[in-house]
């Protein structure tokens, strides 16, 4: 039969490949560390298929990061299907399906890799269902060739000896462009994927920089109450006071709220992280103390101070007395209905929920401002570590390097020499087309870079040189500026990338070195697994109650309890981990 001979050929090909791999690993062992930090010009040269041959040390059987399997191979994996992909991509692209689309064709034609999905689950990868589906897959013992897992699953797989060590494979097969892109976030993502000194998965590096907090203010209200954009926390409090007391919506009723809060307290929209940072309090993340040891942000005295301020605001009627039961969706209703004009959130807030307010009241205008401190000094912006997806390869997979090649191709076609942005990343008719690929690595700073390019073009008054994503974004801004109805719908984008957009502030944050990234990036420690839920419950319960008026001394009790109930042990474990990464 045909398949039999195909199999034979495959085995031969494999043997050959293994042999070359052996030879190569022997000679590439030395110059490892230098590779990742090669100069940009060298990288782009290397990444084009024709040039790759001679760049890898003149070896004729050198590995081509973008080379083609002949005969083609099939690899299996699993994925999620988001609503955006379902409706805005597959829904509009005729003749493309999740199994057969421009990305799958590209991978098949150029790399000789055919992708097959063992299963597809609807929803986003953080959902319970996705995680459960993944866990039952792991438990059933039949893993696909490669699979995206989270840090916990990665650790369990590695400890169970079910996945391949990727250390050498990554060194060998990752294109210089990929190496460059994945290293832009620092060593964190790789630390998180390294267990016992071995790289057990390829981290799909996600930008922590996107987690930066801003103060989103309704500027039309700001004018109405005659205040200036905030420079210090005192300004923020004054704005909150004015927004809740001076009837900014002009309906003669005291029905507005000073600052948006949710029952969950934290998060990318209506979260308290940015507010607390104004008092140099950094709850929920691990920060490095002066002694070089890590400490948990939530139990520091600065948090107490910030809570006191919030409590006073509540007493003075500036906060929603019912915030304690409202989730983000409910508070978003208040924003939409024009009851709220001040909130802390990430750069995307203008797309949701603020756009809803704009839709409802076209006169409403919002703008992001940098977070501020009490004395107006440089504010540090807390950031959660956001790389949560790791691509692991099943032990014994025939082509463990295939996933790396997919990574290579993905970055090549989007940001490399041969990039076809309008086809593979974000064609106008289906802007999320890139999500059709099973792997979606991207330069972590791509959005800031896009802003920088747009901004430079704006200053030069010439947008003609923009290409790729910046071009697409600029077209959105132009659309908005045209004043058309479609343009109105992309107001949120203009608020991000426009002249006074949130990305401009990210740019400043970045240039001023204002980021404070969560220092703990490993898998949860044993005591965390045991106690984190309990400690979190205690923390949020205490904080909400203090804001609602319970004695501020409860905070000290919380700190003592936190330490006693496992916090001290967690701190110790986290520091042991921290010491181990420094070795």
């Amino acid at each position: 039969m045909e398949s039999k001979s195909g199999k034979k050929r495959l085995v031969h090909g494999l043997a050959l490949l293994m042999a070359t791999a052996l030879v190569l690993s022997a000679c590439s062992g030395n110059g490892k560390s230098g590779e990742a930090s090669g100069s940009p010009s060298a990288q782009t040269q290397q990444s084009s298929p024709s040039a790759s041959g001679d760049s890898a040390g003149g070896n004729e059987t050198a590995i081509d990061p973008l080379g083609k399997y002949d005969p083609p191979i099939e690899v299996t994996t699993v994925r999620n299907l988001s609503d955006v992909v379902e409706n805005n991509v597959l829904g509009v692209l005729k003749g493309e399906t999740l199994e057969d689309n421009r990305w799958s064709r590209l991978y098949e034609e150029q790399l000789g890799i055919k992708i097959k999905y063992d299963w597809v689950v609807k929803g986003n990868p953080e959902s319970d269902q996705y995680q459960q589906k993944m866990n039952v897959t792991l438990a059933s013992g039949e893993l696909p060739d490669f699979l995206p897992v989270n840090a916990i699953q990665l650790k369990q797989l590695a400890e169970s000896d079910m996945i391949e060590d990727m250390t050498d494979l990554y060194e060998k097969y990752a294109s210089p462009l990929l190496k460059d892109i994945l290293s832009q976030e620092g060593s964190g993502p790789f630390d998180a994927a390294t267990l016992n000194g071995k790289l057990m998965a390829v981290p799909q590096v996600e930008p922590s920089i996107e987690r930066a907090m801003f103060i989103w203010v309704r500027t039309d209200w700001l004018e109405k109450v005659g205040l200036q954009p905030p420079k210090t926390m005192a300004d923020v409090l004054a704005i909150a006071k004015a927004f809740s007391e001076n009837d900014p919506d002009g309906n003669g009723k005291k029905d507005t709220v000073g600052l948006g809060l949710t029952k969950g307290l934290w998060g990318g929209s209506m979260g308290l992280e940015g507010f607390m940072a104004g008092y140099k309090a950094y709850p929920n993340i691990w920060i490095e103390g002066p002694d070089g040891k890590l400490a948990f942000g939530s139990i520091q005295p600065e948090v107490k101070k910030a809570l006191q301020v919030l409590q006073d605001m509540m007493k003075n009627g500036q906060l929603d007395k019912e915030f304690g039961i409202k989730d983000g969706g409910k508070v978003a209703e208040d924003i939409t209905a024009g009851k709220l004009g001040l909130e802390y959130g990430e750069q995307w807030n203008s797309i949701w929920p603020l756009q809803l307010n704009k839709d409802n009241d076209p006169k409403a205008q919002w703008r992001a401002f940098p977070i501020v401190t009490e004395d107006g000094s440089k504010a540090m912006v807390p950031e959660k570590f956001s790389t949560t997806k790791f691509f692991a390869v099943r032990k014994g997979a025939k082509h463990p390097e295939a996933v790396i090649k997919l990574f290579n191709m993905h970055v090549e076609k989007n940001w490399g020499e041969t990039a076809e942005f309008d086809k593979y990343y974000a064609p106008k008719e289906a802007e999320s087309v890139w999500q059709l690929s099973p792997v979606t690595p991207a330069p972590p700073k791509k959005n800031v870079t896009a802003f920088r390019e747009i901004d430079a073009a704006r200053k030069a008054g010439d947008f003609s040189k923009l290409t790729g994503e910046p071009k697409t974004i600029q077209e959105k801004i132009d659309l908005y500026n045209s004043g058309s109805k479609e343009g109105f719908a992309v107001w949120g984008w203009e608020r991000i990338y426009g002249p006074e957009g949130s990305m401009g502030i990210t740019d400043q944050y970045d240039k001023n070195d204002q980021f404070l990234i969560d220092k703990f990036v490993g898998a949860p420690t044993p005591t965390m697994v045991e106690r984190k839920a309990t400690l979190e419950k205690m923390q949020n319960e205490t904080f909400v109650k203090i804001i609602l008026g319970q004695s501020i001394d409860e905070f000290d009790k919380f700190v003592a309890d936190w330490k006693k109930l496992g916090g001290d042990k967690i701190t110790q474990e986290v520091n042991e981990w921290y010491a181990s990464t420094k070795k």
Partner: protein
């Protein structure tokens, strides 16, 4: 005679075999997974892989958690009220519905009260937050119009359990009523005719005919619902609670859910499930025993 009995019995065995096969495959085979309760179960190692045995550690772990007593108490408190009211309210409605003479009204009411059952708690949660808001909610505006203080139903620890209980009954009673209505239709109409001739009023008829006619279903559902004593309603609580009311509203299932969120703690989840099963088994088993002992009635 013996032969005749055999002949009469054999088909009964045959009838039951297909059902037995189904539960053997889909219930008893997976039931072996209860061993996970005694393991530090790591999914990646597989069901038959090398899992670490930890004895009763998973049980101890849950019981040693700082707020376990509080949570267990909340669970028992909320679920016992739900159990009792969940039985009484549908019975009352079935009787009241039975009194309706107008068939159209009767059927429409019957149908409408079963509607809320079909809306999930995620959806109802949002509606309830609006409805029960102290400042703008409809319920509190009614209270205010009677000169009463507004009540923060979802944010006040004194009121939160009550809110859970009442809203749960409201969502489910219509659906629960259906079984009782079916039981009522099984009552011999001749009994009512005879009672009417004897001059009984409707209270007497309800008390002496309708209620006894439903007795079997009432006893049965009471016993079966005992098995739910440790289930206070995950979906409902999960969608309505907040840190503000953890104190009175956090239940076993939400608690275990949050513990499992960080790490897939199947060992712990299975242990809690097993614990709940044992408790249900003891409760139902005793009820079964007493029903037989004192009323000579076998529930099943």
């Amino acid at each position: 005679m013996m032969n005749g009995k055999m002949r009469r019995e054999l088909p009964l065995h045959f009838m039951i075999v297909p059902g037995l096969l189904f539960i053997a495959v889909f219930s008893y085979v997976p039931m072996a997974g209860i061993v996970i309760a005694f393991q530090k179960f790591i999914p990646a190692r597989g069901l038959f892989g090398h899992q670490k045995w930890v004895g009763w550690d998973n049980f101890d772990y849950v019981m040693d958690l700082p707020s376990f007593t509080q949570v267990l108490w909340n669970t028992l408190y909320i679920s016992s009220f739900k159990l009792v009211l969940g039985l009484v309210v549908p019975i009352v409605f079935a009787i009241l519905l039975n009194e309706l003479k107008n068939e159209v009204v009767k059927r429409s009411v019957q149908t409408t009260i079963y509607l809320p059952y079909f809306l999930s708690w995620v959806v109802l949660g949002g509606i309830l937050i609006d409805l029960l808001s102290p400042s703008t909610g409809l319920v509190n505006q009614v209270l205010k119009s009677f000169g009463l203080e507004p009540i923060f139903f979802l944010g006040d620890n004194k009121w939160f359990p009550t809110t859970l209980i009442v809203s749960d009954i409201w969502k489910n009673f219509g659906y629960g009523t259906i079984v009782y209505l079916a039981a009522i239709t099984g009552i011999d109409p001749g009994l009512y005719e005879a009672a009417t001739i004897d001059g009984a009023n409707r209270w007497k008829k309800a008390w002496h005919i309708t209620l006894p006619g439903m007795r079997m279903v009432i006893v049965l559902l009471s016993v079966l619902s005992l098995g739910q004593l440790l289930n206070a309603g995950f979906d409902q609580v999960f969608n309505l609670y907040s840190p503000q009311v953890y104190e009175s509203g956090d239940i076993l299932d939400t608690f275990v859910y949050r513990i499992g969120l960080l790490d897939a703690q199947y060992g712990v989840a299975t242990a809690v499930g097993f614990f709940k099963s044992i408790v249900s088994f003891i409760l139902i088993g005793s009820a079964y025993f007493f029903a037989y002992r004192f009323a000579k009635y076998r529930i099943f």
